[in-house]
């Protein structure tokens, strides 16, 4: 008598992949910058806060992949992830995501403070329920509203260090919130076919390329204002102000190129790819500067 081979247990590396380590890097960095900008914190408590932010982001990423396994299977960029590739079963991903998420919030509440834990919980729930489950498949505004989920880490970092929320972390929240549309729409312009095949209503798929380019240009304007605002408002010094001015000028120039351009058939989309790549560097520069500014004020 022959018996069917039992399924392979998922490799631990696949659980790690479920947490989207690439996205987590930016989340951890902005959280760390928010925390350093707030002022001194016990190194162990600070480390724990960043660990909780990373775990919370990882949990949100895992739950996102659990819910979107069908979409991921349809897109070349995501087809190799553990769930669509069949290297893990969905209940394992769900249990992992819920477990790590709950653990991160409890640890933040016990070791750091309740405000940071509450914002962390809201950010995980917002990413999973508002962005992933509610908005992503329904509206081209998915990443505009959903962008708020990725904007929470500097707020959490600040709350971890101070136990409160002030104007500077709110501006940092708004910066990431307004940065998200140009960042994702630049990506959506050159992977449009993938999104269209999967039926995700990204702006280029629903409203067309021209509208998307205009929206990239329009969102860059308030983003630039929010990026530079902390300096004239006296919330940061010249280190942040000068970095923000220079980096925002480059971002604005690249976004304007994308906004005003009309690509021809078979276009390599180089300006769009450059804007997408620079937008990541842009956040690293600004958040790096806001942290350095706190410790090296000019």
């Amino acid at each position: 008598m022959s018996t069917a081979a039992p399924p392979l247990p998922a490799d631990w590396r696949d659980f790690l992949a479920l947490t989207k380590p690439g996205v987590m890097r930016l989340v951890v960095f902005t959280g760390l910058a928010g925390m350093l900008a707030a002022g001194p914190i016990d190194p162990v408590i600070g480390f724990t806060a960043i660990l909780c932010i990373a775990l919370g982001a990882g949990a949100a990423g895992a739950l996102n992949q659990w819910y979107e396994a069908d979409l991921d299977a349809m897109m070349r960029r995501t087809a190799g992830r553990p769930l669509p590739a069949g290297r893990m079963d969905r209940p394992a991903a769900l249990q992992f995501g819920v477990g790590v998420g709950v653990f991160s919030v409890i640890l933040m509440g016990l070791a750091v403070n309740l405000l940071a834990a509450a914002i962390l919980a809201v950010s995980i729930l917002f990413y999973v329920f508002v962005y992933t489950i509610w908005l992503k498949r329904r509206t081209p505004q998915n990443i505009v509203i959903g962008g708020a989920a990725g904007a929470f880490p500097p707020l959490i970092g600040w709350a971890a260090a101070t136990g409160r929320v002030d104007l500077l972390p709110v501006l940092l929240f708004l910066l990431v919130f307004l940065w998200t549309p140009p960042h994702f729409w630049a990506l959506a312009l050159f992977v449009r076919t993938d999104y269209a095949n999967a039926g995700v209503p990204m702006l280029p798929v629903v409203a067309g390329e021209r509208t998307t380019r205009t929206q990239i240009g329009l969102y860059t304007i308030p983003m630039a204002i929010v990026a530079v605002a902390p300096w004239p408002l006296g919330l940061t010094g010249a280190v942040y102000g000068l970095v923000a001015l220079a980096a925002t000028a480059v971002f604005g120039w690249m976004a304007a190129r994308v906004a005003l351009r009309a690509p021809v058939e078979g276009d390599a989309m180089r300006p769009e790819k450059k804007l997408f790549a620079f937008s990541i560097l842009y956040l690293f520069l600004l958040f790096g500067a806001v942290a350095v500014d706190r410790w090296l004020p000019l």
Binding site: A5, L8, P9, D11, D42, V44, T48
Partner: protein, 44 residues
């Protein structure tokens, strides 16, 4: 189930058990350090 398949299952289980053990060890150390930090903050 072939012997190769069984070996692979055992290897995956061993690897996961090792990673879990390391994470638990790190968690115990972290909780100890948090306790020390909280005690220090309470005394300051």
């Amino acid at each position: 189930m072939t012997p190769d398949h069984e070996d692979l299952i055992r290897k995956r289980q061993r690897d996961r058990a090792k990673v879990t053990a390391w994470l638990l060890g790190a968690f115990v150390i972290l909780m100890f350090l948090i306790a020390i930090a909280k005690i220090r903050a309470g005394m300051a």
